[in-house]
Symmetry: C2
Subunit: 232 residues, 2 copies
């Protein structure tokens, strides 16, 4: 195991590792035609799946609804709702060494899903929502949890929220970025990230998501190798 | 004006007419990242805009969020919410001869749109919604209303709902189709329609949306010519 830790930070730094990754938004139906969702395009997750694969990992990607093409040699499982994503993750998590949660999972879903299109004529309408499972938190809390990487997309206090989330959910790493502003994040081709772990952090500057994903994949591989060496 | 009514049902049956058309879904934000929307892909609306243009009409298309390319020689105005679509339609409606409402406009929007991403930790969450303007109904009720064509996408009792909507909103035509089933409608490349007017109806069978759009455009042109001749 010590030999593995001494390996150079080579091009195939994740050879032999299995990565489970979630990507894209989820959709929470109100009825057969209406849903709650969010502005995640899935671009960052798909680019990261490709970059992790390039480092030699076998990658299983569980993707919410997006029109993006599957990266080469990545196994893709399509889901729609947070509950479907939760079940798909829990079915595959025991086989993985690294779990990366890039998906923007809806926190809440409608209590009732109408079988037929809702016909409403009232001036007001109240939608009752219940909390979805916390996929990232549940994976990190598993007895034999994988090396777990979260994302924090926030409109403000990004770094504070991200470090709190890292500690509260006992993650190994978290990648934080600002959304809803003029630059970067959802619906943009460029993005910047602050990557945070227990005793350090690094800044990945504003750049196209495909390049940023390669830098983040390298960063995940480095921290995973240190973690793997110390826990083996 | 009589001469115009006697024109053959030629290839350019809408030459000189101005068509205003809405297409796609709308998105109703809860906060900077979350929204309510629906499964409309915009395909039928975009195909119909192209087909109406092919018949010689000048076409202005007001489109909700979709990734579809603008059809050749169609003027496109992009909007996100129902309120934005309403304002865009009301700004342009006085100049049009024909109004076609293919957009799946959200009936309701959140009462409050949070400026920052909502942080919620409760097990339940209640979302208060208010009714959006009825764009189609308001256009049809204008004193100098254009020839007005609506759509009815329903999961059941499609024809009954559509004829009721035609009469209640005083439309000139309505195109009805079943959605949320295994075949046709939202998120499908094929569709079938029943086109209904005051004293008649016709069936357009299941086929690719681009072909179906051409048949529907012909149907709109025929009914518009009769209407135009009788009201001139």
């Amino acid at each position: 195991e010590i030999a593995e830790a001494l390996l150079p930070r080579a091009a195939r730094a994740l050879e032999g590792a299995c990565v489970l990754l979630t990507a894209g938004p989820t959709r929470e139906p109100l009825d057969p035609v209406r849903f709650l969702s969010n502005r995640s395009s899935g671009q960052m997750g798909f680019a990261l799946a490709a970059a992790l694969r390039e480092l030699g990992a076998s990658v299983v990607m569980i993707a919410g609804p997006t029109a993006l093409p599957t990266p080469p040699s990545v196994e893709r499982i399509d889901v729609e709702t947070a509950l479907e994503m939760y079940l798909a993750v829990m079915t595959r998590v025991a086989d993985c060494d690294v779990f990366v949660a890039t998906a923007a999972v809806a926190d809440y879903r409608p209590v009732n899903v109408a079988e037929h299109k809702i016909k409403k004529h009232a001036d007001e309408f109240t939608l009752h929502l219940v909390r979805n499972p916390d996929i990232l938190g549940e994976v990190a809390a598993l007895t034999a949890s994988p090396f777990t990487v979260g994302f924090a997309a926030e409109t403000d206090h990004v770094i504070d929220y991200a470090r709190a989330k890292l500690q509260h959910k006992q993650l190994n790493m978290i990648a934080a970025n600002q959304v809803g502003g003029a630059q970067g994040g959802f619906e943009c081709t460029d993005n910047a990230l602050t990557v945070i772990w227990d005793d350090g952090q690094c800044e990945l500057p504003m750049q196209p998501k495909s390049q940023l994903a390669r830098q983040l994949a390298q960063c995940i591989a480095e921290r995973y190798q240190i973690y793997h060496a110390s826990s083996s």
